[in-house]
Point group: C2
């Protein structure tokens, strides 16, 4: 805490984040994205046994929750973790 002010999250976004984090696979994906700075979907598929369709679905969920940003670079997707959003969510729950 201490440091910077925390991003404000709407009730709606907190719910989306909670749902997004409820799937173990998505948490794994988040970890993978977080461990490097930028990842493409292919990199994730290399480590997680999942179809492209399913992965795409999860990406959309994570993006809608605001937990990742998807930047398109030609035919690749650049996935980046939004640590500020994740931290805001955690701090919010910490207040319970």
């Amino acid at each position: 805490m201490a440091a910077g002010k925390t991003k404000a999250l709407s009730k709606r976004q907190r719910e989306l984040i909670a749902k997004a984090l409820a799937d173990p696979r998505r948490v794994e994906i988040l970890k993978q994205i977080g461990s490097v700075n930028c990842v493409a979907c292919g990199d994730i598929r290399a480590r997680q046994d999942v179809s492209a369709a399913t992965l795409s679905h999860h990406m959309k969920e994570l993006e809608m929750a605001g937990l990742i940003e998807i930047g398109r670079e030609g035919k690749y997707a650049n996935l980046t973790l939004r640590r500020d959003v994740l931290r805001a969510y955690l701090e919010n729950l910490g207040k319970i």
Copy 2:
């Protein structure tokens, strides 16, 4: 962080907690339990428009996740928030 050592959570328990937190109603319930020290189910029903059956279901979910403890006192249930478990979960996610 700094202060005390964090409780260790199994993968399984982290998943249960994430699922438990994915329902907005359960988060509300947690807040309510956390705001006072001990609550009975009836107190919660007084504030949340939900049937006894549904509430009981949510309680079981929260207890299985380890987020609350349910102590029976005669015909009442004493609900207490397990802050140590919640904090351990949040710290775990913070490592992403």
